[in-house]
Symmetry: C2
Subunit: 206 residues, 2 copies
Protein backbone atom coordinates (compact mmCIF):
# COMPACT_ATOMS: atom_id res chain seq x y z
CA UNK A 1 0.00 0.00 0.00
CA UNK A 2 1.35 3.42 -1.02
CA UNK A 3 0.57 6.55 0.97
CA UNK A 4 0.71 9.98 -0.63
CA UNK A 5 1.06 13.12 1.47
CA UNK A 6 -0.46 16.06 -0.39
CA UNK A 7 -2.09 19.43 -0.03
CA UNK A 8 -4.95 20.37 -2.35
CA UNK A 9 -3.99 22.86 -5.04
CA UNK A 10 -0.32 21.87 -5.03
CA UNK A 11 1.89 19.97 -7.47
CA UNK A 12 1.12 16.79 -5.46
CA UNK A 13 -1.93 16.47 -7.72
CA UNK A 14 0.31 15.17 -10.54
CA UNK A 15 1.48 12.15 -8.53
CA UNK A 16 -2.03 11.62 -7.19
CA UNK A 17 -3.41 11.39 -10.73
CA UNK A 18 -0.54 9.11 -11.79
CA UNK A 19 -1.31 6.72 -8.92
CA UNK A 20 -4.96 6.59 -9.97
CA UNK A 21 -4.06 6.10 -13.65
CA UNK A 22 -1.69 3.28 -12.65
CA UNK A 23 -4.46 1.51 -10.75
CA UNK A 24 -2.27 1.60 -7.64
CA UNK A 25 -3.54 0.68 -4.19
CA UNK A 26 -2.98 3.96 -2.33
CA UNK A 27 -4.23 6.20 0.43
CA UNK A 28 -3.82 9.95 0.74
CA UNK A 29 -3.11 12.15 3.73
CA UNK A 30 -3.80 15.85 3.45
CA UNK A 31 -1.62 18.47 5.07
CA UNK A 32 -3.10 21.80 6.11
CA UNK A 33 -0.76 24.39 4.62
CA UNK A 34 -2.65 27.24 6.34
CA UNK A 35 -1.70 25.65 9.66
CA UNK A 36 1.89 25.19 8.34
CA UNK A 37 1.52 21.44 8.90
CA UNK A 38 4.23 20.80 6.29
CA UNK A 39 6.75 22.20 8.77
CA UNK A 40 5.49 20.28 11.81
CA UNK A 41 8.08 18.04 13.53
CA UNK A 42 6.08 14.92 12.57
CA UNK A 43 6.01 15.79 8.88
CA UNK A 44 9.65 16.93 8.81
CA UNK A 45 10.52 13.38 9.88
CA UNK A 46 8.81 12.20 6.69
CA UNK A 47 10.16 14.95 4.44
CA UNK A 48 12.85 17.20 5.94
CA UNK A 49 12.31 19.67 3.08
CA UNK A 50 8.85 20.55 4.46
CA UNK A 51 7.21 20.20 1.07
CA UNK A 52 4.65 18.02 -0.64
CA UNK A 53 4.34 15.51 -2.21
CA UNK A 54 5.90 12.64 -0.26
CA UNK A 55 5.21 9.05 -1.18
CA UNK A 56 5.55 6.39 1.50
CA UNK A 57 6.43 3.01 -0.01
CA UNK A 58 7.33 -0.31 1.62
CA UNK A 59 10.99 0.47 0.80
CA UNK A 60 11.02 4.00 2.19
CA UNK A 61 9.89 7.53 1.41
CA UNK A 62 10.24 9.28 -1.93
CA UNK A 63 10.01 13.00 -2.66
CA UNK A 64 10.25 15.23 -5.77
CA UNK A 65 7.52 14.99 -8.38
CA UNK A 66 9.63 13.99 -11.43
CA UNK A 67 11.22 11.12 -9.46
CA UNK A 68 7.87 9.94 -8.10
CA UNK A 69 6.21 10.05 -11.52
CA UNK A 70 8.96 7.93 -13.09
CA UNK A 71 8.78 5.56 -10.10
CA UNK A 72 5.02 5.11 -10.55
CA UNK A 73 5.47 4.47 -14.29
CA UNK A 74 8.23 1.91 -13.63
CA UNK A 75 6.47 0.05 -10.82
CA UNK A 76 3.15 -0.18 -12.70
CA UNK A 77 4.45 -1.03 -16.18
CA UNK A 78 1.10 -2.47 -17.30
CA UNK A 79 -0.36 1.07 -17.08
CA UNK A 80 2.06 2.17 -19.85
CA UNK A 81 2.59 5.63 -18.37
CA UNK A 82 6.09 6.04 -19.85
CA UNK A 83 8.17 4.54 -22.70
CA UNK A 84 10.14 2.29 -20.35
CA UNK A 85 11.95 0.32 -23.05
CA UNK A 86 13.24 3.32 -25.01
CA UNK A 87 15.87 5.38 -23.19
CA UNK A 88 15.62 8.32 -25.60
CA UNK A 89 11.82 8.54 -25.44
CA UNK A 90 11.97 8.13 -21.65
CA UNK A 91 14.50 10.99 -21.51
CA UNK A 92 12.11 13.20 -23.52
CA UNK A 93 9.41 12.49 -20.92
CA UNK A 94 11.82 13.27 -18.12
CA UNK A 95 13.07 16.41 -19.84
CA UNK A 96 9.53 17.78 -20.07
CA UNK A 97 8.85 17.00 -16.42
CA UNK A 98 12.14 18.53 -15.34
CA UNK A 99 11.23 21.75 -17.18
CA UNK A 100 7.88 21.85 -15.38
CA UNK A 101 9.57 21.26 -12.03
CA UNK A 102 12.64 23.48 -12.22
CA UNK A 103 11.46 26.33 -14.47
CA UNK A 104 7.65 26.52 -14.69
CA UNK A 105 6.77 25.65 -11.08
CA UNK A 106 9.60 27.92 -9.93
CA UNK A 107 8.24 30.84 -12.00
CA UNK A 108 4.81 30.30 -10.40
CA UNK A 109 6.27 30.05 -6.90
CA UNK A 110 7.50 33.65 -7.10
CA UNK A 111 3.90 34.77 -6.67
CA UNK A 112 3.54 33.54 -3.10
CA UNK A 113 6.88 32.12 -1.97
CA UNK A 114 9.07 35.20 -2.23
CA UNK A 115 10.63 34.67 1.23
CA UNK A 116 12.45 31.65 -0.17
CA UNK A 117 14.64 33.99 -2.22
CA UNK A 118 14.47 37.49 -0.73
CA UNK A 119 13.58 39.38 2.46
CA UNK A 120 11.95 42.70 1.46
CA UNK A 121 8.23 43.27 0.86
CA UNK A 122 9.08 45.40 -2.18
CA UNK A 123 10.96 42.44 -3.68
CA UNK A 124 8.02 40.10 -3.05
CA UNK A 125 5.70 42.57 -4.80
CA UNK A 126 8.13 42.88 -7.72
CA UNK A 127 8.39 39.08 -8.04
CA UNK A 128 4.61 38.76 -7.93
CA UNK A 129 4.17 41.32 -10.72
CA UNK A 130 6.52 39.29 -12.95
CA UNK A 131 4.58 36.00 -12.70
CA UNK A 132 2.05 36.63 -15.51
CA UNK A 133 4.97 37.38 -17.84
CA UNK A 134 7.28 34.53 -16.74
CA UNK A 135 4.49 31.93 -16.60
CA UNK A 136 3.15 33.29 -19.89
CA UNK A 137 6.55 32.82 -21.52
CA UNK A 138 6.87 29.26 -20.16
CA UNK A 139 3.45 28.29 -21.45
CA UNK A 140 4.01 29.99 -24.80
CA UNK A 141 7.03 27.71 -25.24
CA UNK A 142 5.00 24.67 -24.15
CA UNK A 143 2.24 25.63 -26.60
CA UNK A 144 4.58 26.29 -29.53
CA UNK A 145 7.36 23.76 -29.10
CA UNK A 146 6.67 21.10 -26.49
CA UNK A 147 3.03 19.93 -26.32
CA UNK A 148 2.69 17.67 -29.36
CA UNK A 149 -1.01 16.96 -28.91
CA UNK A 150 -3.39 15.50 -28.14
CA UNK A 151 -1.11 14.43 -25.27
CA UNK A 152 2.22 15.99 -24.36
CA UNK A 153 4.22 13.28 -26.12
CA UNK A 154 1.74 12.88 -29.01
CA UNK A 155 -0.68 10.00 -29.37
CA UNK A 156 0.32 8.30 -26.12
CA UNK A 157 -0.69 9.44 -22.65
CA UNK A 158 2.31 9.58 -20.26
CA UNK A 159 3.36 10.89 -16.83
CA UNK A 160 3.90 14.28 -18.52
CA UNK A 161 0.15 14.76 -18.86
CA UNK A 162 -0.96 14.84 -15.21
CA UNK A 163 1.99 17.11 -14.42
CA UNK A 164 1.17 19.59 -17.19
CA UNK A 165 -2.50 19.49 -16.19
CA UNK A 166 -1.63 20.23 -12.56
CA UNK A 167 0.45 23.30 -13.38
CA UNK A 168 -1.92 24.50 -16.13
CA UNK A 169 -4.65 24.71 -13.48
CA UNK A 170 -2.69 27.61 -11.96
CA UNK A 171 -2.82 29.77 -15.11
CA UNK A 172 -5.92 31.84 -14.25
CA UNK A 173 -4.56 32.50 -10.74
CA UNK A 174 -1.31 33.59 -12.36
CA UNK A 175 -3.18 35.96 -14.75
CA UNK A 176 -2.09 34.10 -17.89
CA UNK A 177 -4.73 34.24 -20.63
CA UNK A 178 -5.66 30.76 -21.85
CA UNK A 179 -7.08 32.29 -25.04
CA UNK A 180 -3.52 32.47 -26.40
CA UNK A 181 -2.89 28.83 -25.50
CA UNK A 182 -5.40 26.73 -27.46
CA UNK A 183 -3.43 23.47 -27.27
CA UNK A 184 -2.91 23.84 -23.52
CA UNK A 185 -6.60 24.67 -23.03
CA UNK A 186 -7.61 21.64 -25.10
CA UNK A 187 -5.24 19.44 -23.09
CA UNK A 188 -6.72 20.67 -19.82
CA UNK A 189 -10.23 19.92 -21.02
CA UNK A 190 -9.23 16.46 -22.25
CA UNK A 191 -7.55 15.70 -18.92
CA UNK A 192 -10.60 16.80 -16.90
CA UNK A 193 -12.69 14.19 -18.72
CA UNK A 194 -10.51 11.21 -17.70
CA UNK A 195 -12.10 8.97 -15.04
CA UNK A 196 -8.88 8.88 -13.00
CA UNK A 197 -8.75 12.68 -12.91
CA UNK A 198 -12.40 12.95 -11.85
CA UNK A 199 -11.79 10.42 -9.07
CA UNK A 200 -8.69 12.25 -7.84
CA UNK A 201 -10.26 15.72 -7.95
CA UNK A 202 -13.09 14.36 -5.80
CA UNK A 203 -10.60 12.82 -3.34
CA UNK A 204 -8.72 16.09 -2.96
CA UNK A 205 -11.91 18.07 -2.38
CA UNK A 206 -13.36 15.92 0.41
Amino acid sequence: MLKLYLAPGTCALASHIALAEAGADYTIEKLDFKANQQNSPDYLEINPKGRVPSLVTDRGILTETPAMLAYIAQTFPQAKLAPLDDAFAFAQVQSFNSYLCATVHVAHAHKGRGPRWATEETSFADMKRMVPKSMGACFALIERKMLKGPWVMGETYTICDPYLYTIALWLEGDSVDLAGLPKVADHRKRMAERPAVKKVMAEEKV
Copy 2:
Protein backbone atom coordinates in the same frame (compact mmCIF):
# COMPACT_ATOMS: atom_id res chain seq x y z
CA MET B 1 28.61 10.26 -31.61
CA LEU B 2 27.08 12.48 -28.92
CA LYS B 3 27.63 16.24 -28.90
CA LEU B 4 27.30 18.25 -25.70
CA TYR B 5 26.70 22.01 -25.78
CA LEU B 6 28.05 23.56 -22.61
CA ALA B 7 29.46 26.71 -21.07
CA PRO B 8 32.30 26.43 -18.56
CA GLY B 9 31.24 27.01 -14.96
CA THR B 10 27.64 25.94 -15.57
CA CYS B 11 25.62 22.89 -14.58
CA ALA B 12 26.53 21.34 -17.97
CA LEU B 13 29.64 20.05 -16.18
CA ALA B 14 27.54 17.31 -14.56
CA SER B 15 26.53 15.79 -17.89
CA HIS B 16 30.05 16.28 -19.24
CA ILE B 17 31.50 14.26 -16.35
CA ALA B 18 28.80 11.59 -16.74
CA LEU B 19 29.69 11.18 -20.43
CA ALA B 20 33.34 10.75 -19.55
CA GLU B 21 32.56 8.29 -16.73
CA ALA B 22 30.35 6.32 -19.14
CA GLY B 23 33.19 6.02 -21.64
CA ALA B 24 30.95 7.64 -24.25
CA ASP B 25 32.20 8.80 -27.63
CA TYR B 26 31.40 12.52 -27.44
CA THR B 27 32.44 15.96 -28.54
CA ILE B 28 31.78 19.26 -26.78
CA GLU B 29 30.87 22.66 -28.14
CA LYS B 30 31.31 25.67 -25.90
CA LEU B 31 28.95 28.61 -25.90
CA ASP B 32 30.20 32.07 -24.96
CA PHE B 33 27.72 33.28 -22.34
CA LYS B 34 29.39 36.72 -22.23
CA ALA B 35 28.47 37.12 -25.90
CA ASN B 36 24.96 35.79 -25.11
CA GLN B 37 25.55 32.96 -27.59
CA GLN B 38 22.95 30.84 -25.78
CA ASN B 39 20.30 33.19 -27.18
CA SER B 40 21.63 33.27 -30.76
CA PRO B 41 19.15 32.15 -33.46
CA ASP B 42 21.35 29.13 -34.28
CA TYR B 43 21.44 27.90 -30.69
CA LEU B 44 17.74 28.58 -30.08
CA GLU B 45 17.09 26.12 -32.92
CA ILE B 46 18.92 23.52 -30.82
CA ASN B 47 17.45 24.54 -27.47
CA PRO B 48 14.59 27.07 -27.58
CA LYS B 49 15.02 27.65 -23.84
CA GLY B 50 18.38 29.35 -24.47
CA ARG B 51 20.11 27.34 -21.78
CA VAL B 52 22.84 24.73 -21.44
CA PRO B 53 23.34 21.81 -21.47
CA SER B 54 21.94 20.36 -24.68
CA LEU B 55 22.88 16.88 -25.82
CA VAL B 56 22.67 16.06 -29.52
CA THR B 57 22.04 12.36 -30.09
CA ASP B 58 21.33 10.38 -33.26
CA ARG B 59 17.65 10.35 -32.22
CA GLY B 60 17.33 14.06 -31.50
CA ILE B 61 18.26 16.69 -28.92
CA LEU B 62 17.86 16.34 -25.16
CA THR B 63 17.85 19.10 -22.55
CA GLU B 64 17.54 19.28 -18.73
CA THR B 65 20.33 17.85 -16.61
CA PRO B 66 18.34 15.22 -14.62
CA ALA B 67 16.90 13.77 -17.85
CA MET B 68 20.30 13.73 -19.56
CA LEU B 69 22.01 12.09 -16.59
CA ALA B 70 19.43 9.29 -16.47
CA TYR B 71 19.72 8.92 -20.26
CA ILE B 72 23.50 8.55 -20.05
CA ALA B 73 23.16 5.97 -17.26
CA GLN B 74 20.56 3.99 -19.24
CA THR B 75 22.41 4.05 -22.57
CA PHE B 76 25.76 3.06 -21.05
CA PRO B 77 24.60 0.37 -18.59
CA GLN B 78 28.05 -1.22 -18.37
CA ALA B 79 29.27 1.97 -16.61
CA LYS B 80 26.84 1.24 -13.75
CA LEU B 81 26.05 4.92 -13.13
CA ALA B 82 22.55 4.24 -11.72
CA PRO B 83 20.62 1.30 -10.19
CA LEU B 84 18.75 0.56 -13.42
CA ASP B 85 17.12 -2.68 -12.23
CA ASP B 86 15.69 -1.28 -8.98
CA ALA B 87 12.88 1.27 -9.46
CA PHE B 88 13.00 2.45 -5.83
CA ALA B 89 16.77 2.96 -5.78
CA PHE B 90 16.58 4.65 -9.20
CA ALA B 91 13.86 6.97 -7.81
CA GLN B 92 16.14 7.90 -4.90
CA VAL B 93 18.83 8.87 -7.41
CA GLN B 94 16.34 10.88 -9.41
CA SER B 95 14.92 12.52 -6.29
CA PHE B 96 18.37 13.76 -5.29
CA ASN B 97 19.01 15.12 -8.78
CA SER B 98 15.60 16.78 -8.91
CA TYR B 99 16.34 18.54 -5.63
CA LEU B 100 19.65 19.82 -7.02
CA CYS B 101 17.93 21.02 -10.20
CA ALA B 102 14.73 22.59 -8.89
CA THR B 103 15.77 23.85 -5.44
CA VAL B 104 19.57 24.13 -5.09
CA HIS B 105 20.44 25.39 -8.56
CA VAL B 106 17.43 27.74 -8.38
CA ALA B 107 18.64 29.16 -5.04
CA HIS B 108 22.06 29.80 -6.61
CA ALA B 109 20.55 31.38 -9.73
CA HIS B 110 19.10 34.21 -7.64
CA LYS B 111 22.61 35.61 -7.34
CA GLY B 112 22.98 36.54 -10.99
CA ARG B 113 19.72 35.72 -12.77
CA GLY B 114 17.33 38.03 -10.93
CA PRO B 115 15.77 39.35 -14.18
CA ARG B 116 14.16 35.94 -14.65
CA TRP B 117 11.87 36.66 -11.70
CA ALA B 118 11.80 40.42 -11.07
CA THR B 119 12.48 43.78 -12.72
CA GLU B 120 13.92 46.14 -10.08
CA GLU B 121 17.59 46.54 -9.19
CA THR B 122 16.66 46.66 -5.51
CA SER B 123 15.01 43.23 -5.86
CA PHE B 124 18.09 41.80 -7.60
CA ALA B 125 20.26 43.08 -4.76
CA ASP B 126 17.87 41.61 -2.17
CA MET B 127 17.89 38.22 -3.94
CA LYS B 128 21.67 38.27 -4.15
CA ARG B 129 22.00 38.94 -0.40
CA MET B 130 19.84 35.89 0.34
CA VAL B 131 21.98 33.38 -1.60
CA PRO B 132 24.52 32.56 1.15
CA LYS B 133 21.59 31.74 3.46
CA SER B 134 19.46 29.79 0.97
CA MET B 135 22.40 27.87 -0.51
CA GLY B 136 23.72 27.32 3.01
CA ALA B 137 20.38 25.81 4.07
CA CYS B 138 20.27 23.54 1.00
CA PHE B 139 23.78 22.26 1.63
CA ALA B 140 23.17 21.84 5.36
CA LEU B 141 20.30 19.50 4.44
CA ILE B 142 22.51 17.66 1.93
CA GLU B 143 25.26 17.32 4.55
CA ARG B 144 22.94 16.15 7.35
CA LYS B 145 20.30 14.08 5.56
CA MET B 146 21.12 13.29 1.94
CA LEU B 147 24.82 12.62 1.25
CA LYS B 148 25.36 9.11 2.59
CA GLY B 149 29.10 8.99 1.91
CA PRO B 150 31.54 8.34 0.52
CA TRP B 151 29.31 8.85 -2.53
CA VAL B 152 25.85 10.43 -2.50
CA MET B 153 24.07 7.08 -2.51
CA GLY B 154 26.61 5.36 -0.26
CA GLU B 155 29.22 2.89 -1.46
CA THR B 156 28.27 3.14 -5.13
CA TYR B 157 29.13 6.03 -7.42
CA THR B 158 26.09 7.24 -9.41
CA ILE B 159 24.90 10.13 -11.61
CA CYS B 160 24.17 12.02 -8.38
CA ASP B 161 27.88 12.48 -7.77
CA PRO B 162 28.91 14.59 -10.77
CA TYR B 163 25.81 16.74 -10.27
CA LEU B 164 26.53 17.38 -6.58
CA TYR B 165 30.18 18.07 -7.41
CA THR B 166 29.18 20.59 -10.09
CA ILE B 167 26.92 22.60 -7.79
CA ALA B 168 29.25 22.29 -4.79
CA LEU B 169 31.93 24.05 -6.86
CA TRP B 170 29.75 27.19 -6.61
CA LEU B 171 29.81 27.32 -2.80
CA GLU B 172 32.74 29.71 -2.35
CA GLY B 173 31.28 32.07 -4.96
CA ASP B 174 27.99 31.92 -3.07
CA SER B 175 29.76 32.73 0.23
CA VAL B 176 28.85 29.42 1.87
CA ASP B 177 31.53 28.23 4.28
CA LEU B 178 32.73 24.72 3.46
CA ALA B 179 34.08 24.36 7.00
CA GLY B 180 30.55 23.55 8.17
CA LEU B 181 30.14 20.94 5.45
CA PRO B 182 32.82 18.28 6.03
CA LYS B 183 31.05 15.52 4.07
CA VAL B 184 30.44 17.81 1.09
CA ALA B 185 34.05 19.00 1.21
CA ASP B 186 35.30 15.41 1.33
CA HIS B 187 33.03 14.49 -1.59
CA ARG B 188 34.36 17.39 -3.65
CA LYS B 189 37.95 16.35 -2.99
CA ARG B 190 37.20 12.71 -3.81
CA MET B 191 35.50 13.74 -7.07
CA ALA B 192 38.43 15.96 -8.13
CA GLU B 193 40.73 12.92 -7.96
CA ARG B 194 38.73 10.84 -10.46
CA PRO B 195 40.40 10.47 -13.87
CA ALA B 196 37.14 11.30 -15.70
CA VAL B 197 36.78 14.53 -13.73
CA LYS B 198 40.40 15.56 -14.41
CA LYS B 199 39.89 14.90 -18.13
CA VAL B 200 36.66 16.88 -18.24
CA MET B 201 37.99 19.85 -16.26
CA ALA B 202 40.87 20.07 -18.74
CA GLU B 203 38.45 19.91 -21.70
CA GLU B 204 36.33 22.74 -20.28
CA LYS B 205 39.38 24.94 -19.66
CA VAL B 206 40.95 24.74 -23.12
